[in-house]
């Protein structure tokens, strides 16, 4: 019996090693395999006495080989480790790290989304004489050792919604949250609540979640990971990966593959290496606080020692977060911090910190969380602002704050009082005139005979009715033409509307279409995409706008092969230094801050520079009490060549936006052309006011990715703005020619309490 078990374990270990090193394998594995085969063959013939010794020998060999192979692990091998069915999963952790738990929000297969597991868990500790039970909420992805219905830990939108729901519960109950990220990515369907929109909602809520959150990364696949990973402490398992995209996905993009063709494994390996996805890389970049060392070749469910380490790390992390914001710290905090410096002086098990927080501590927690993410990824972009500029950018916000405080805080009250008084006085005066002057005039007119002669009246009326009104506007009031005209309007050629087949639209002449018609088919209303300059000049009054931070420049932080040249090319073609353009402008007299993602610069992808500019713009809008408009001319997602430096902009920018909205601002998002992936699933999708321009596409993943992941064909209109509207992802669809009118209307009617013109 024991022998059978041992044999099975042996076989499993062998298979695991083989799987991890992929189809090509290496010499050590081949040796190991040969030895194992030999052992298995000879096993039945061993004399009973030798069995034990032989077993030990082969197991020792395995131990030795695992240690040896550990050193040879490539990033792609690590990817294979985390995806292996034998890898530990959340259930194992719940059983081995926590002392007791009950699963909530579904059981096993009977679950709104079996790939997201939620549990209330207890950590019991002995403090002096008594045992304390500390409750936590555990949220994470469950891969279930390859169970089909778990969907590989790929959370559906409603799974993320469930996670959010219980985060709010934890907030109410004032208990910390431990999240475990075991996901290759989110399941990219748009059905309500929608992959992108739900992740954005999660990020938005987590930005201001008033309880400590500790996240543990094993497999952190892009947006799906972020949905539960915006945390105060981020721990990573040593064999995990945390990446902007799966290496296969990156290779497919790199190799420009379509229709589900597979990239060759060498390219995938190269991508995995370049994306800086390992725990070490992420610690070095500052996106993860600590690494939990796993046994050689990764933790499997029978590595009990590992669970102990994990438990220690989690307790430590939670304690740290809590004590850093608590007012009563004293020795425990010192003890905690000393441990981080000197390593292993005190076991966190023995330090007891209460995990519930006072209101003041919760405020501090949020502040720290914001600051934490705010401080990340500054190394990943090039700041070309001059020294003076930087000084200015440090000082100016102080002036803005002061100015806002004086003019909207102090002066406003005073002004209001004066205005109220003036109103009262004029109302009084009106009443007096009604009572006194009118009867007098009437009496007077009775003396001077009847009303003015009729003919006189008619003449006056005629004069009013036949004279040119508003002569200052000139006699011709033909529709004003656009300030900026597309270069395509200079080509003498006809263009076909894509809806011609279904709507019978006639061919359009490019000079009409791209100038007067503003790129809108007059027959069916299809919007041809227009250059971003069109919107800048015709909608946002760019000619008189003040652009800022133009010198923050996109770089190549991971030294991704060949990417320097691509960035240089984009810079040359657009004359801009990043895909994010931020400026301050005036819309019919209302001052606003605009941040725009422009498609011609690397597809409007977001990297560290773009994120930083976006945050600076949000902060500026907040300080100046201006509305903040994100005009998305187009974005293909996070810039994959920046790896996690890009992904981290999702929580970073969302935090900034959340702070701005909580401060009483108006954050408005306008989608144009194509907006996909990360940005939509974070700082754009979280806006309470999102509008799309007609004929735009909004979504999480492109049709190719969806059909590959879900195996379902994707209808051609799946991502169309009108679909997004019916799914509740956007709140209105605007005609391009009326954006300005609609914008003004929105500025007047929606938004928070702290806008300067309110």
């Amino acid at each position: 019996m024991d022998r059978e078990k041992r044999l099975l374990a042996l076989r499993n270990r062998l298979a695991y090693v083989e799987d991890v090193f992929g189809p090509d394998g290496n010499d050590s594995i081949r040796v190991l395999k040969a030895r194992a085969a030999e052992f298995l063959e000879r096993l039945p013939h061993f004399p009973q006495a030798d069995v034990e010794r032989e077993f030990r020998r082969i197991e020792e060999l395995l131990d030795f080989s695992e240690k040896k192979l550990e050193k040879e692990l490539t990033p792609m091998d690590r990817v294979r480790i985390v995806r292996h069915p034998q890898r530990i999963c959340l259930k194992d952790i719940l059983e081995n790290v926590y002392d007791n738990y009950s699963e909530i929000g579904g059981q096993g297969e009977y679950n709104i989304d079996p790939s997201v597991l939620i549990a209330r868990a207890i950590i019991s500790r002995r403090v002096g004489r008594r045992v304390v039970n500390q409750p936590v909420l555990v949220i994470g992805h469950e891969k279930g050792h390859g169970e089909e219905f778990r969907n590989g830990g790929s959370a559906k939108p409603w799974g993320n919604a469930k996670a959010l729901h219980y985060m709010k519960v934890a907030e109410t109950e004032n208990i910390p949250i431990h999240t475990y990220v075991f996901t290759p990515g989110s399941y990219p369907v748009e059905d309500y609540p929608g992959a992108a929109q739900q992740i954005a909602r999660n990020l938005y809520e987590m930005s201001a979640l008033r309880v400590p959150v500790v996240a543990v990364f094993s497999e952190g696949g892009s947006g799906g990971a972020e949905a539960v990973a915006l945390a105060d402490r981020r721990i990573m398992l040593s064999h995990g990966y945390y990446s902007v995209i799966s290496p296969e996905g990156a290779a497919a993009i790199e190799g420009r593959l379509r229709n589900g063709q597979r990239a060759d494994s060498a390219l995938v390996e190269r991508c995995a290496r370049q994306l800086a996805i390992t725990a070490q890389d992420n610690v070095a970049n500052g996106y993860v606080d600590r690494v939990v060392q796993e046994p050689p070749l990764g933790a499997r469910p029978d590595h009990f020692e590992f669970f102990k380490t994990l438990r220690r790390e989690i307790l430590q992390a939670t304690n740290e977060v809590v004590s850093s914001v608590k007012s009563m710290k004293l020795f425990r905090a010192m003890a905690l911090s000393s441990r981080t410096h000197r390593k292993a002086a005190l076991d966190p098990e023995s330090i007891y910190v209460r995990w519930d927080l006072s209101n003041a501590a919760r405020d501090r927690l949020l502040c720290k969380r914001y600051q934490r993410f705010r401080d990340m990824s500054h190394h990943a972009y090039r700041d070309n602002r001059t020294f003076m500029d930087k000084i200015r950018s440090g000082l100016e916000p102080l002036c803005w704050s002061l100015h806002s405080f004086v003019s909207y805080g102090l002066a406003r009250g005073m002004r209001k009082r004066v205005r109220d008084l003036a109103e009262e006085v004029s109302a009084e005066a009106f009443l007096i005139s009604e009572r006194v002057v009118r009867p007098a005039r009437k009496a007077l007119s009775r003396f001077s005979g009847p009303d003015q002669p009729r003919a006189e009246l008619g003449k006056r009326a005629k004069e009013a009715l036949t004279r040119l009104s508003c002569p200052e506007e000139g006699a011709c009031i033909n529709g004003d033409s656009w300030v900026w005209m597309s270069g395509r309007a200079r080509e003498d050629r006809a263009v076909s509307c894509p809806n011609a087949r279904t709507h019978g639209c006639p061919d359009l002449w490019a000079p009409d279409l791209f100038s007067e018609f503003a790129g809108v088919c007059p027959c069916c209303g299809h919007h041809f995409s227009m250059e971003y300059e069109w919107y800048f000049y015709n909608v946002f009054n760019y000619a008189e706008a003040q652009e800022f931070n133009a010198d923050i420049e996109s770089g190549n932080p991971l030294e991704y092969e060949g990417f320097d040249a691509k960035i240089e090319q984009a810079r040359k073609r657009t004359g801009r230094k990043s895909s994010c353009v931020t400026f301050e402008t005036s819309l019919d007299g209302v001052q606003v801050v605009v941040a725009s993602l422009i498609a011609p610069f690397r597809g409007g992808t977001v990297g560290a520079a773009e994120g930083e500019k976006f945050i600076l713009a949000a902060e500026r809008a907040q300080k100046k009490h201006y509305p903040f408009i994100a005009y998305v001319h187009g974005t293909a997602g996070i810039r994959i060549q920046e790896g996690v430096n890009g992904v981290i902009q999702m929580p970073r920018c969302t935090l900034a936006v959340r702070r701005y909205i909580d401060a009483g601002g108006l954050y408005l998002v306008i989608y144009d052309t194509n907006s996909y992936a990360g940005p939509v699933a974070s700082f754009l999708g979280c806006s309470p006011y999102q509008f799309a321009i007609r004929s735009s596409n909004i979504g999480f993943a492109g049709p190719g990715v969806i059909s590959e992941t879900t195996g379902m064909p994707v209808p051609p209109n799946y991502h169309k703005a009108y679909q997004a509207l019916s799914r509740g992802h956007v709140h209105g669809i605007w005609d391009r020619r009326e954006i300005r009118k609609n914008l003004y209307q929105v500025l007047l009617t929606v938004g928070g309490r702290n806008l300067y013109y309110r």
């Binding site: 050629r493 006809a494 263009v495 076909s496 019978g504 064909p713 051609p716």
Partner: protein, 216 residues
């Protein structure tokens, strides 16, 4: 009663339909590929999102527009002498020999079995909005028609007049006109199946389904 067997035999003796592909408007023609005898396919995909085989390009006012094969078939006559030449609207470009699909055969035979409501005059026809909506949402066979029911709008010489249905009560089984196309006087507009004959009709469909082999 219909003699389905005979009808089928009749169709089988000439199971092809000639489709003439014409230039939709003026322009310069460039044939894409293909010669007589080549096979082409028609529009495909769950939502008809994949266009058929590219037959030619027609360039007008520097706008190069593709002409796709409307149906599956074999190219029988391709006017290669027009390559690079300016053509007028409606010029024959090539002819396809289309092997009738099961669906088309069913439609053909059903025309004999259903009650046909015919166009009273040459005009454009379309459904009144309520019927149109119902057809779009629930599909054909969901609309029951009866004598005197307002069903179509006749659009003629810029004027629109309603047209009431006349004939036996039943379900709309086939629609023979397209929105925006002219229908000649006497051409069938609708095929209506009286409810008591539904089983007969389904029988016909089943027979053809099993007997007509589609050439793949």
């Amino acid at each position: 009663m219909l003699n389905i067997k005979e009808l089928l035999e009749d169709i089988k003796s000439n199971p092809y339909k000639e489709i003439i592909v014409r230039s939709p408007h003026t322009g310069t023609v460039e044939f894409a590929a293909g010669k007589s005898g080549d096979m082409v396919r028609g529009r495909a995909g769950t939502w008809g999102e994949k266009p058929g085989t590219l037959l030619a390009h027609l360039t007008r006012e520097k706008n190069k527009k593709p002409i796709y094969a409307p149906e599956k078939g074999e190219i029988v006559n391709i006017r290669t002498e027009l390559e690079g030449a300016f053509v007028e609207a409606g010029q024959e470009l090539l002819t396809l020999r289309h092997y009738l699909t099961r669906k088309e055969v069913i439609e053909r035979i059903l025309k004999q079995a259903l009650f046909l409501f015919r166009a009273p005059e040459r005009a454009k026809y379309y459904f009144i909005p309520e019927v149109d909506q119902k057809l779009k949402v629930s599909g054909k066979r969901s609309v029951k028609v009866f004598e005197g029911m307002d069903m179509l709008i006749v659009s003629r010489m810029k004027r629109e007049t309603p047209l009431a249905y006349s004939g036996p009560e039943g379900l709309i089984y086939s629609v023979y006109f397209h929105r925006g196309d002219n229908v000649d006087e006497g051409e069938p507009l609708l095929g209506v199946c009286p409810e008591d004959q539904l089983s007969t009709i389904q029988d016909v469909v089943a027979r053809v389904q099993s007997e007509w082999e589609e050439d793949e």
